[in-house]
């Protein structure tokens, strides 16, 4: 009916925003952020909502459970989808851990997919193999390579879906720390962003991996720290490192934060908001020893048995195979993708401009179907140590800021920046690692309109870059629709959140959630990339530069990842100065002052 009356009501609705005050009489699945409607009946119901909403109903929970239910249904629908070799990798690990004694876990090499995750993950596989053997005893036979009976497929797929409960539990633990009356909507959309994350759907439930449970442990660790339990958070992170060592990417942020926040106590009652407080704080040897001993115990538990067998070197060589190249078969959208693309451009441009002759030995690699692991021709070849130095260099500024201001928001930002830096500059980074950036970033996305914007752009560029991972024609529509609907969902949810926050006088942030022209153009540009890579190139230029579609995809996505990295990093560095940027300073400061009383 009339748009005019709804506009008139929207101010009444705005009084309720930003959030999500549930109507206690009608538990629906979603918490309503604010209802304004043209019909008079619903308007009156809105009014009752306003008056009675303060006794927050347990509605947030039912909404979260609904999200979990929907996510599970989607995952079940993906049961027969394409599986990568990672499926066989994990089946093989089930077999190894079930059928072989401990001392052979890291030496067994019947399959080429040897166990190359840390010991706790091996134990996790061992645990699952106890069920697997009941489902189909043939799963756990080491020599049974490429075994994939329908029972095996169902069991392994279900094992990912079931262990995702840890992810859900982790999100719940995290949002419980800030779920007040006001932030119900915030906690709800954080739940959506993580539980329905398109990256996890593609990587875990189509490609096949166990990132859900791993990131669940990460969230549990973050939630523990958020609640002020630094020690538990640190130990959980140590456990996580022993589940999958790629989380070393985040270790610098954890190290600096725990050292500064847990092992140093603020001498004064001040919250330590300036550099001077560093001098005023004193080292608490007890906490330091507690944390050190705890972490050492976790590692001893994990590596100890193998140390006793004298296999530490063997184990480490499995975990860190430095024989691999700078880029993976398909370039992750990081700095090295741009670097390698520039190299390719120079190979062609140089001879044309008369700068150098066309190198002969590269023509073969230039016509390969996949973007292979090429050594650079014109630009200098990058040694592993250079990537490590560059990564640490980019982590340094935020770590310095974190040292000066060890607050929870700053810690989260440091975690994200560390993940970002490792993804962008690391050695042999896989495109799947973008999920490690996107997931912690979803916790920050709801803090400030700009954070939300960077999260949206990062989701679009990072998740789009995952599409080539699933290359069979059957999943063409499924994978695109998963990413498209996720990005749309993120956009709508954030727009609702930040419009509500902008209208709410009491909230600190009033910046609008608005994309500028360039950012909009970038998002719509994905349609052009899609058109070129999937339609124009294969039909009209089938034999010309076969690597070009993949190169274009990773360069275009890389542009978006870099852009959000620079903008987000820049804002995070200034974050501690501008206190109004932080909507939830109370949590961190209260924790810091409570800690050692």
């Amino acid at each position: 009916m009339s748009s005019s009356s709804s506009r008139a009501n929207s101010s009444a609705g705005a009084a309720l925003t930003p959030s999500s005050l549930p109507s206690p009489s009608s538990p629906s699945f979603l918490p309503t952020p604010a209802s304004s409607s043209s019909s008079s009946t619903s308007f009156s119901s809105t009014m009752t909502t306003t008056t009675t909403a303060s006794n927050a109903a347990p509605l947030g929970d039912s909404a979260s459970w609904a999200v979990l239910l929907v996510a599970t249904l989607v995952k079940l629908l993906l049961l027969p989808a394409y599986r990568s070799t990672d499926f066989e990798v994990h089946r093989n690990w089930l077999a190894i851990t079930h059928s072989l004694p401990l001392r052979q876990w890291y030496t067994e090499d019947t399959s080429q997919w040897t166990l190359d995750y840390p010991p706790f993950f091996a134990w996790f596989e061992w645990l699952m193999s106890q069920v697997a053997v009941l489902v189909d005893p043939a799963i756990v036979v080491v020599s049974n390579l490429e075994y994939a009976s329908s029972a095996t497929v169902t069991f392994q797929r279900l094992s990912v879906i079931v262990t995702d409960i840890v992810l859900f539990y982790g999100v719940q633990q995290y949002v419980n720390t800030f779920r007040g009356n006001k932030d119900l909507y915030k906690s709800f959309i954080v739940t959506i962003f993580i539980v329905l994350n398109a990256g996890l759907l593609l990587v875990d439930h189509i490609h096949f991996q166990y990132n859900g449970i791993l990131n669940g442990v990460l969230l549990l660790s973050i939630a523990a720290i958020q609640k002020g339990h630094d020690l538990i958070g640190g130990l959980l992170f140590a456990v996580l490192l022993n589940l999958k060592h790629i989380y070393l990417y985040l270790a610098p942020a954890y190290f600096v934060f725990l050292l500064r926040h847990y092992c140093f106590a603020a001498a004064s009652s001040g919250s330590g908001s300036d550099a001077a407080s560093v001098q005023r704080s004193r080292f608490v040897i007890g906490n330091f020893l507690r944390l050190g001993a705890g972490v050492a115990a976790v590692f001893a538990l994990s590596f100890g048995p193998f140390l006793l067998e004298g296999q530490l070197g063997q184990l480490l060589s499995r975990l860190f195979p430095f024989k691999r190249g700078l880029c993976h078969a398909y370039w992750a959208p990081n700095f090295w993708a741009l670097y390698s693309a520039l190299d390719k451009v120079l190979i062609y441009a140089g001879p044309r401009l008369g700068l150098w002759p066309m190198p002969e030995h590269v023509t073969a690699s230039m016509t390969g179907g996949l973007v292979g692991d090429v050594s650079h021709v014109v630009l200098p070849t990058v040694p592993p140590v250079a990537t490590m130095v560059l990564t640490l260099l980019f982590m340094l500024p935020i770590l310095v800021v974190l040292w000066r201001r060890p607050t929870m928001p700053m810690f989260l930002r440091s975690v994200v920046v560390c993940a970002y830096a490792s993804f962008l500059f690391g050695w042999h980074v896989h495109e799947k690692a973008i999920v490690m950036v996107v997931l912690p970033m979803s916790l920050i996305a709801v803090q400030h309109a700009n954070d939300g914007k960077w999260f949206l752009l990062l989701s679009a560029s990072g998740l789009y870059s995952l599409l080539p991972l699933i290359f069979e024609p059957r999943e063409f529509f499924v994978k695109h629709l998963i990413v498209l609907s996720y990005v749309l969902l993120v956009y709508c949810a954030l727009r609702v959140l930040f419009r509500g926050l902008a209208l709410d006088r009491s909230s600190g942030s009033r910046a609008p959630f608005r994309l500028n022209r360039l950012e909009k153009a970038y998002l719509f540009g994905f349609a052009a990339v899609e058109l070129y890579t999937e339609v124009l190139h294969p039909i009209f230029l089938p034999n010309w530069l076969p690597f070009l579609p993949l190169l274009l995809t990773s360069v275009y996505c890389s542009a978006g990842v870099h852009y959000t990295f620079v903008r987000f990093y820049n804002e995070s560095l200034h974050h501690w100065r501008a206190s109004n940027l932080s909507p939830t300073p109370s949590i961190s400061t209260s924790n810091a002052s409570k800690r050692h009383s």
Binding site: S6, S26, S28, S37, L73, V74, L79, A81, E472, L488
Partner: protein
């Protein structure tokens, strides 16, 4: 729940409230369409009918075979038996528009890989990419025809509702499980014929009668089963014409439109009477018997006790079923012709298609989709019964879907649909306390039947002399509930007459 209650229920759902307040209508519409497409695409990952089961395969192979035939043979041979067109192997038995559609898809397939549709040699061809292509053709047809039709219906006909409520209703219509499972799981192109029929419904409800009749003829010429709607269309257009200033002129114009559209569709086959007769013979195969498999209609249900096919001759059965069908649809048609109204038309569509489904000759279990479409349109005026009907109609196809290996998507699609409906209608457990006694009984009956049938399917092992007991159980229980629904929907249509025209006629904006 009536239309007023629906309005407030929708308004209190958070989806509608958020979209309304934030003016996210366009984004919400796109999101709804994307999610509906995602469910379809994901169901398409599951096996299709007759996957890897030679020699006959299933409906998927039929559609693929038609692409092969229409691409490689001239239209004159499409419906005729010949050395290169063995009619016993999935001979073309749909009207010309389907054939043209097959030709178009066949041409595109030929462009990608001639092997997919090579004459004779491609029988039962199932490569990864050819399957992806076939699935894509359904998905694209759905997106291009059925989706716009649904959004157009909500936009044009449900003008009483705000845009965000229209989107909510469109979401529920798009998520009806039966259509998704049959088109994207089992493999058919119902989205095209039903989409065209829905466009025709929108047109005649907006009084664009000529356009409406063209569209309905197209639907008929895509799939002859759209005849189930013919009585409703006929009565509605007749009734409207009779009330107009120049009834004869309007009827003549409609007649000319229909004849012209048909002539155009049949152009390649108008060479001789024989040619037309052959096509007709293919489209209406009398010889196939009263019913196929175990379908939830009256004849199959009665056959449990009385072996009709053994007692009566085929010609007599044809006549009996024709008379019964006519009797079943007559009340609703006469009522609509005398008092044409918008809501009346929607009920008449349900009543005539349900009459056909229950009583006509040679009914397939999938034909219930023809009833489900207009029933889903009633979501806006009679939501609870529409939802119950959609669920029951999907359940009636469970044996077929189970045979196709679609039991998992079947369960998931139903749960998805129920979640969306519960959210949009803001139904909670407490709301059940406010149901009337009849409502409670209905709910209980649906739950008991639903779970009972499925439990029996998996856990009850039938005795040796009744190997199809579970199948029959599904057919008989579904049939009984359809009969009850037929009575109810007819009663509702007649009830409308008691109300002055202005209130039950949905207004235009």
């Amino acid at each position: 729940m009536n239309s007023m209650e629906l309005q407030s229920a929708l308004a209190s759902s958070s989806f509608v409230a958020i979209v309304e307040q934030e003016r996210l209508q366009s984004q919400a519409a796109i999101l709804v369409a994307t999610l509906a497409l995602l469910v379809r695409a994901a169901v398409g990952l599951y096996p299709h009918s007759g996957q890897a089961t030679p020699p006959m395969y299933g409906d998927y192979e039929a559609q693929r075979h038609w692409m092969e035939i229409t691409l490689h043979l001239p239209p004159a041979e499409w419906y005729h038996n010949s050395t290169s067109n063995d009619l016993l192997y999935w001979g073309l038995d749909y009207p010309p528009l389907t054939a043209y559609g097959s030709w178009l898809c066949g041409a595109i397939a030929h462009f990608f890989d001639p092997e997919w549709v090579a004459l004779d040699t491609s029988r039962g061809f199932e490569s990864k990419s050819s399957k992806a292509f076939m699935r894509a053709t359904v998905l694209v047809s759905d997106l291009l025809i059925f989706f716009p039709a649904v959004f157009l219906f909500c936009r044009q006909i449900l003008a009483d509702f705000t845009r965000s409520k229209q989107i909510a209703i469109a979401f529920m219509i798009l998520l009806q499980p039966g259509l998704i499972l049959i088109d994207h799981g089992h493999f058919q192109y119902n989205c095209i014929s039903l989409g065209l029929a829905l466009l025709a419904i929108v047109a005649v409800m907006r009084d664009w009668d000529i356009l409406g009749s063209v569209l309905f003829c197209l639907s008929l010429n895509y799939k002859q089963m759209s005849l189930y709607y013919a009585p409703a269309f006929f009565s509605f257009l007749l009734g409207k014409s009779l009330q107009s200033a120049h009834p004869v002129l309007r009827i003549a114009a409609l007649g000319v439109t229909v004849i012209a559209t048909f002539a155009l569709c049949w152009l390649p086959f108008l060479t001789s009477i024989d040619s037309v007769a052959q096509v007709l013979h293919r489209i209406f195969p009398i010889g196939r018997g009263l019913f196929e498999d175990k379908v939830a209609n009256v004849w199959c249900a009665v056959s449990v006790l009385i072996k009709l096919r053994a007692i009566f001759e085929q010609a007599l059965l044809v006549r009996i079923s024709a008379i019964c069908t006519l009797l079943a649809i007559l009340p609703s048609s006469v009522n609509l012709a005398l008092r044409p109204s918008q809501t009346g038309f929607l009920y008449a569509l349900v009543n005539s298609s349900l009459g056909f489904f229950l009583f006509s000759y040679q009914v397939h279990e999938k034909s219930i989709l023809l009833v489900a479409l207009p029933a889903s349109l009633l979501l806006a005026s009679d939501p609870l019964n529409a939802v119950f009907f959609l669920l029951l109609s999907t359940a009636s196809m469970f044996p077929l879907l189970h045979k196709d290996g679609l039991a998992i998507p079947y369960a998931i699609c139903i749960v998805f649909f129920v979640i969306v409906v519960l959210h949009m209608l803001n139904v909670s457990l407490q709301a059940c306390q406010h149901l009337t006694t009849i409502g409670k009984l209905q709910l209980a009956a649906v739950i008991v039947c639903f779970s009972g049938l499925h439990l029996a399917w998996y856990f009850y092992i039938p005795p040796a002399h009744l190997p199809h007991a579970n199948l029959l159980l599904f057919a008989v229980v579904s049939c009984a509930s359809f009969v009850l629904f037929a009575v109810y929907f007819n009663w509702r249509q007649w009830q409308l007459n008691g109300v002055p025209t202005s209130t039950h006629k949905l207004k235009h904006s």
